[in-house]
């Protein structure tokens, strides 16, 4: 495969040009907001929203041009490195296929709605403008990530979305918990990123390019024999053969998957996502539910063709574990957003598992439907929090001294009467999340579950029943979804409003409770509509009719050991047999889940009556759920173990070594005594004589200085003093200023060089 053909420039066409504009627009919004004055805050937020609305139209035109079309790819040579025997060409470009188009639409559309929602939600925040500028920046880099055609660019934007996410989690950085959560998210993500980077380096070492389409072709032409992975690169007449052990493909796949685990909060790197809820709620909707956390799944889809076949199993297991553990975690939370955060983890687990079991298109489908209904849930919870916040604020305005958490579900209840729009949005998206027929989540989740079960059946054909554990756990998690979402829905929207009965001060809280403003209702209703199944399939019972699934189709598998054609054919045939069974199972499990939730959490149960005063979890199962399987404690005990070890060795040192030291000190003292007596006698006399000579010399010098030079120099001295003062005045003791001055002078010198 000749490298020049592989990496030749591809000109821009109308679709990619528009896509470039789609990225540029939010970035422009970011710049505009950063540069504009503080007084224009109202105008700027509306302008940012307007630009994003414009972007929706642009994106729609891109998707219109690219959907179900041949891949649109524009690429240019970014820079070249001349190595000894190979011309390393770094390219940069845009690639739009169906997956990209879907992601574009999801990101831009949800970003627009979040912008709209935030206008009123963030009203009154002192950093209103910073908030909107960061939203713009996030949208720009996320879109760039989605459009990038090579791993280097993806990595760069991957880091950037992580960075903006860090800034937004820590948006209220004066709160200790917020800045801690931001740091935690940042650090945990670094672990994953190391993996991603290692994977990139291995691929680079083998292919000498990071362009995904080039890698795909090279991968298709590479050979695996005798446990070795051979890639032949050609440049002109030269050809280079890269040979390494084929286990490196496994390592590369695992490394890339580690990156996915970090970004998409997979077990065991999932502990950061619940904490990330410290950020503003619309941000949670955009970044930590719909788009950024799904970037991991997106990356997995992009590199799926080279993922080693053995690693598929790892992906499936990690995914289903995450789905299950996340669902368990959602059970006992009191914070309305934490429940949603755990459910996000769980749903991401479904997507990743879907990838692992070969339900590629189903996983991406779930990514899309999940993005809409989860964003809806988050925005609706934002509306609830906003309303609760208003209630508390009004009570405080009355002069009541209360400091309560507006996100705590224990103070909610019965909100459906006062907040009907929010309630209907919440209800619809909950049904979608739980996988109830007619709603979008049903189609995608059903597809994933069918895929998982048929995968287990195909794999277990050799007699390994253990494969069935994956779909079993997945079905359990699906049922639990209905259970914890039912619990949340009942606790928040049904029953009685609990806050007034908390104490005397909150008695008239009910009168302040009201639904949110129109600017917040519109996004909610839009997303509610997006949660209906008919939008995705003409017959909302039959996932086979979903236009999305057929548009994505089957992925390539270029890693050795599996023939993609027979594999997917087998899966498809099994799915055909199992589809009715899975349909029935899903419906029954979801209904069971909701039924259980109703029995336990409806208005009259003892749980609900005492919920206001419910404290920390009591039995071990509740604790496991509430503390998210004690993952944080496991992390901490790692650190603590190391500290203990250090302490222990320190004590060991002390005991054993003290004796030796005493001896050394004694010897040392003797030596010093001897040396000092020698010094005293011999050297003192010598130096005194020398000193006297020098005093005379010194006197002489100073006299000359004073009487001969002084008169002549006093004018010069004044001038020099002045210059010195000038130089000194740059020196104010602030290191930022030093750096600034250095850069200013650096640029001055460069300007001098250039002109």
């Amino acid at each position: 495969m000749n490298s020049r053909e592989l990496l030749h420039n591809l000109p821009l066409n109308s679709a990619t040009e528009t896509a470039l504009l789609v990225v540029a627009l939010p970035f422009f919004s970011f710049l505009l907001l950063v540069l504009s004055g503080k007084r224009l805050r109202h105008l700027t937020s509306r302008l940012a929203t307007f630009l994003m609305g414009l972007n929706v139209l642009l994106t729609a035109s891109v998707v219109w041009q690219c959907w179900n079309q041949p891949v649109q790819h524009s690429r240019l040579s970014w820079f070249q490195l001349l190595s000894e025997n190979y011309n390393l060409n770094f390219t940069a470009g845009l690639l739009i296929d169906n997956i990209t188009a879907m992601m574009l639409l999801v990101v831009v559309f949800i970003s627009f709605l979040v912008h709209l929602f935030s206008i009123d939600y963030m009203e009154g925040d002192e950093n209103y403008k910073r908030y909107f500028s960061l939203l713009g920046l996030f949208t720009a880099v996320m879109l760039a990530l989605v459009l990038s055609d090579n791993l280097l660019l993806i990595f760069i934007f991957w880091e950037l979305v992580g960075f903006v996410s860090y800034l937004l989690i820590g948006f209220w950085f004066k709160k200790t918990s917020a800045s801690r959560a931001a740091t935690k998210a940042f650090l945990v993500n670094r672990i994953g990123d190391v993996g991603f980077l290692v994977g990139i380096l291995i691929l680079w070492g083998q292919f000498s390019t990071l362009d995904l389409s080039a890698i795909e072709q090279l991968m298709a032409n590479s050979q695996f024999s005798n446990g070795e992975w051979v890639v032949i690169l050609q440049q002109g007449t030269q050809s280079i053969t890269n040979t390494i052990d084929s286990s490196w493909l496994t390592i590369a796949s695992l490394a890339l998957f580690l990156g996915v685990m970090g970004k998409s909060a997979q077990f065991p790197l999932m502990a950061w996502l619940p904490d990330a809820m410290e950020g503003p709620t619309p941000v949670s909707a955009l970044i930590h539910a719909a788009t950024m956390v799904a970037a991991g799944v997106y990356l997995l889809a992009r590199v799926f063709f080279l993922i080693d076949v053995e690693v598929h199993l790892v992906i499936a297991i990690v995914g289903v574990l995450t789905a299950f553990m996340g669902a368990v975690g959602a059970f006992t939370q009191h914070d309305i957003k934490k429940v949603l955060a755990f459910s996000t983890i769980s749903q991401l687990g479904f997507m990743v598992m879907g990838m692992g079991v070969g339900a590629y298109s189903a996983a991406l489908f779930h990514l899309m439907t999940h993005a809409f209904f989860k964003a809806c849930l988050f925005l609706a919870s934002g509306a609830v929090i906003h309303a609760m916040h208003d209630v508390l604020h009004n009570l405080q305005y009355e002069g009541k001294k209360i400091h309560l958490d507006a996100q705590d579900m224990r103070y909610m209840g019965g909100l459906r009467k006062k907040m009907p729009v929010t309630f209907w949005a919440y209800l619809t998206s909950t049904l979608a999340l739980a996988g109830v027929p007619f709603f979008s989540g049903f189609l995608s989740k059903d597809a994933i579950l069918t895929g998982a079960l048929s995968w287990a059946k195909v794999m277990a054909a050799g007699g390994h029943w253990a494969y069935y554990l994956v779909p079993i756990l997945a079905f359990l998690a699906a049922m639990m979804t209905a259970m914890y979402m039912g619990r949340q829905l009942l606790l928040v929207f049904f029953g009685e409003f609990r806050l007034p009965s908390l104490n005397e001060q909150c008695k008239n809280a009910g009168q302040y409770l009201k639904d949110v403003t129109l600017k917040m209702k519109v996004p909610l209703l839009t997303l509610t509509i997006m949660s209906f199944g008919v939008l995705y399939a003409a017959n909302p019972f039959l996932k086979q009719e979903a236009w999305f699934l057929s548009a994505i189709g089957y992925p390539k598998i270029l890693a050795p050991g599996l023939d993609a054609k027979t594999y997917f054919l087998a899966l498809e045939q099994t799915e055909e047999q199992l589809k009715v069974l899975v349909f029935l199972l899903t419906v029954v499990l979801a209904s069971l889940g909701f039924f259980w939730a109703y029995r336990r959490y409806h208005g009259g149960t003892s749980y609900t009556r005492n919920y206001l005063y419910r404290g920390d979890p009591e039995n071990i199962w509740q604790k496991i759920s509430h503390h998210n399987w004690f993952l944080d404690d496991v992390y901490q005990s790692f650190t603590r173990f190391n500290q203990r070890l250090a302490l222990l060795s320190n004590q060991f040192d002390k005991r054993v070594v003290e004796g030796t030291n005493l001896g050394l000190q004694w010897f040392n003292g003797k030596l010093a005594k001897f040396a000092s007596s020698f010094e005293l006698k011999v050297l003192n006399g010598l130096s005194d004589a020398f000193g006297i000579f020098h005093i005379i010399l010194a006197h002489f010098m100073v006299l000359i200085d004073r009487y001969v030079i002084d008169g002549f120099v006093s004018t010069v001295a004044w001038i020099s003093g002045f210059i010195g003062l000038l130089g000194k005045s740059f020196q104010r003791g602030k290191v930022q200023q030093y750096v600034l001055w250095t850069f200013v002078s650096l640029i001055l010198v460069l300007a001098f060089l250039l002109f």
Partner: protein, 505 residues
């Protein structure tokens, strides 16, 4: 297709590496001692500082011995590790200088009170680390090695600057770190451009020279200046000098003495190598843009800012910081002579500068150690109370100014002669300006250098002065340093013989 692995290449590489290791004894010894010092600190918790000092002295003596042997065996420049490093006269001479500086630092640290010291072994290990970085810096011919060695020096420096963990010291450390990281980033960016243009890391190779010559000129110039920026930071040239006074003021005095000599001279050595090669191969030298002008202007600015700002300083260490900036200007001027004589004078100057600076800082430290004072005004009457100390101060300050009868004079004379010679040859006006600025700043420096002896002898009286006593060890070391300054004035050929035959232009 799969069987034709080429093992000869790998074998040759391995042999080259093994052969190179044998030629790298001083550096290996330094690395060994870093580990040794840390291990001793870890295993024997309460080892007194003097033990560490003695071990360090032994190690440094060994390093000097091996460097000496290296110098004797050296017939021509040898490439090590496949052109990662190059062993030649310039490197050996500078390694001598670093070794001696290391020994002096250990001596200076000797009298520091124990209570300020928590991690004694680490202190010495870090000094060794800094020295190792400097050793590699003056030997490297590889872009990556440039960065690595500079970072080795820098990172050791950041920690050392912050070593006593007092507030001032910590502030100094952080400032140094922030500024240094910025400079490193700029330089690394420039290096990456160089690599991009040429596709090789070996900056002595034909491919590198060819690559830079065939690349468009403008980006090459910009990239080159970025690389030089990193080095200018190390030699504290304007406009990369801002960190110097704050760091010198805050860091422990022996470390300041080390900072003012080793990283600076190492940076100069590297600059000589880089500029020398580019000058010979005519890479960065074109009709329209002359580096001599750019660097010359910076050198002039450095002399002006250093010397003139020093006039206003009241803190002796801060004054020395500006003084060392001033000296850097003259160092740069020495390089810009672009002649063998210029380099030789520069090396002579470097040796003398090392002695002067260590002497000056040692004297300042003696006062600081015993009384805690570093402000020049606190020295009132001290010269009358301890004439010995006063006399030493006078001599050192005279040497720093560059007046006879000290080696400081010889050094400046040599630099100015080299500049004049070059000026007569190429008639470049910038050289003339350099000479003039150098002379003027020498006159200016007289004022602030002699301020210390002036205050010591003519302000206040002996009774009210600081109460301190010198012990014999102090006296001997100070005397040795000052005597060497006088001796090198009288017998300058001792040193010049050593640095003969160095020719980079």
């Amino acid at each position: 297709m799969f069987e034709n692995f080429d093992y000869t290449g790998l074998n040759a590489t391995l042999e080259n590496v093994l052969g190179s290791v044998a030629q790298l004894m001083p550096e290996l010894l330094l690395a060994t001692f870093i580990l040794l010092l840390i291990l001793i600190d870890l295993i024997f918790k309460n080892t007194p500082k003097s033990i560490f000092s003695i071990i360090s002295l032994l190690g440094l003596a060994g390093v000097l011995f091996f460097t000496h042997r290296q110098g004797n065996q050296l017939t021509e420049a040898t490439a090590l590790f496949g052109q990662m490093l190059q062993l030649d006269r310039l490197g050996v001479i500078l390694k001598y200088l670093f070794g001696i500086s290391g020994i002096l630092t250990v001596f200076l640290s000797w009298s520091k009170e124990e209570k300020d010291w928590h991690e004694k072994g680490e202190y010495f290990a870090l000094v060794f680390g800094l020295l190792l970085g400097a050793f590699l810096m003056v030997m490297t011919t590889n872009l990556l090695m440039i960065f690595l060695s500079i970072e080795l020096v820098s990172i050791s420096s950041y920690i050392l600057a912050n070593f006593t963990q007092k507030r001032k010291s910590a502030e100094a450390g952080i400032k140094y770190l922030v500024f240094g990281a910025t400079a490193s980033a700029v330089m690394l960016y420039g290096l990456s451009f160089w690599y991009g243009f040429s596709g090789t890391l070996d900056f002595t190779s034909f491919q590198f020279i060819n690559g830079l010559q065939s690349a468009p000129q403008l980006p090459v110039l910009v990239a080159s200046f970025m690389v030089f920026a990193g080095l200018l930071f190390k030699i504290t040239a304007v406009p990369f000098h801002f960190w110097t006074p704050d760091v010198y003021e805050g860091a422990p005095t022996p470390i300041v003495a080390l900072f003012s000599v080793v990283p600076k001279i190492a940076g100069l050595g590297l600059l000589i190598r880089l500029l020398g090669i580019s000058f010979q191969q005519n890479i960065l030298w074109s009709e329209s843009i002359i580096w001599r002008d750019v660097l010359g202007v910076l050198a002039i600015l450095t002399m002006v800012v250093g010397n003139f700002s020093a006039l206003w300083q009241k803190n002796a260490k801060r004054m020395m910081a500006y003084s060392s900036i001033g000296h850097s200007g003259l160092f740069l001027a020495g390089i810009l002579a672009f002649s063998a004589f210029g380099i030789q004078s520069l090396l002579f100057y470097a040796f003398v500068y090392m002695l002067m600076n260590f002497a000056a800082f040692y004297l300042i430290e003696m006062v600081e150690d015993k009384t805690g004072k570093v402000m020049i005004n606190d020295y009132q009457g001290l010269g009358l109370r301890i004439p010995f100390l006063g006399a030493l101060f006078v001599l050192v300050m005279i040497a720093l100014t560059g007046l006879p009868p000290t080696a400081g004079f010889t050094a400046k004379l040599l630099i100015f002669s080299a500049l004049t010679e070059s000026y007569q040859e190429v008639q470049s006006p910038i050289l003339l300006y350099l000479i003039i600025t150098g002379l003027i700043s020498t006159v200016v420096s007289l004022f602030y250098y002699l301020k210390i002896p002036y205050v010591m002898f003519f302000k206040g009286n002996a009774e009210d002065s600081l109460k301190m006593k010198l012990n014999v060890g102090n006296k001997v070391l100070a005397l040795l340093l000052v005597t060497s300054l006088l001796l090198l004035f009288l017998k300058s050929n001792w040193l010049t013989n050593l640095i003969d035959h160095i020719n980079y232009f």
